[in-house]
């Protein structure tokens, strides 16, 4: 993080604290695993024809992350909650709003493509659906990356986009490209989780370090 011109050390310190709080929310790798599992399920869903259940699976994965936070993260890194109406929460809500809009765009894209809508736009969308869909998901991941200041989420966005590009112009089967991307994200998330577990042993309150 760069120090803004004319900003006192106390001000830059407060901004640094906000950034460290964001790091706190992603340091355990659980959200990486959630994203990886959703992408992998998407790839496997196309392959094994259960893509309709993908939404339910992603919802369950998010619930599982919250549950695992209580078991894995809080006993090791402690518990903290964002300030109501604070800068962090404002940024979180902005990122969430962008994510919802992108989700709606992806949904409408799917409706246009799969409902057999006629017209030039629908034809173009149908022709470039994999790469457009990959781009939308990549933008979604980039929004998350920008919010949490974690470069690895940009790498995930690139992986998703590449999956679409490889299918569109590289002749690679879409399920294979997406499954590989999901597996790579899962592997990275696992590495982050293992590093977190190694660096943060459980500590009971009251036992001096």
């Amino acid at each position: 993080m760069t120090k803004k011109d004319g900003e006192s050390p106390v001000e830059s310190g407060v901004r640094r604290m906000e950034q460290r709080m964001l790091l706190y929310y992603t340091q355990d790798g659980l959200w990486d695993l959630c994203l990886g599992a959703c992408v992998l399920a998407w790839g496997l869903g196309i392959w094994l024809d259960f893509v309709a259940l993908h939404g339910a699976f992603c919802g369950a994965a998010v619930v599982l992350v919250w549950a695992l936070k209580k078991v894995i993260t809080y006993p090791r890194a402690g518990y903290a909650r964002m300030r109501e109406g604070g800068e962090l929460q404002r940024r979180f809500r902005k990122a969430l709003a962008i994510a919802v809009v992108l989700g709606l765009v992806v949904f409408l894209l799917g409706v246009v493509v799969f409902e057999g809508t006629a017209g030039v736009v629908a034809t173009v969308l149908r022709a470039y659906f994999p790469v457009l869909f990959g781009a939308m998901v990549a933008i979604l991941f980039s929004v998350i990356a920008a919010w949490v200041h974690q470069p690895r989420f940009y790498a995930y966005a690139l992986l998703i986009f590449l999956a679409g590009v490889l299918h569109q112009w590289g002749g690679v089967e879409l399920p294979l490209a997406v499954t590989v991307a999901g597996t790579a994200i899962l592997a990275c998330g696992t590495a982050v989780l293992l590093r977190f577990l190694g660096n943060n042993p459980r500590i009971d309150e009251g036992a001096d370090a």
Partner: protein, 110 residues
Amino acid sequence: MPEDATQERVTSGLDAVDRVIHEPARLAIMSRLYVLEEADWLFLHRQTGLSFGNLTSHLARLEAAGYVVIEKTFVDRKPRTLVRMTDEGRVAFDAYRQQMRNWLQPDGTT
């Protein structure tokens, strides 16, 4: 400039600084709590690197000044200490930020 005059210029404006917050360990605690709604004791220990004894004594000092509230509970029969910055603490920290901003102005005015 005579040494005394330099010393005076350096310290003028700092006399009014809240020394409860100005102490480095307590500043570390306050700057974290400032951006949060609440945090537990383990989180503050991990974030500040303070030993448990140090953290406890500095939190007690901040609590005595009315800047934080400490709530002790039990979760699964284990003690859990939640710390929250009070409105008074937030006002005091804002005032401290303003004082430091004024004091550290690039033109040297205090």
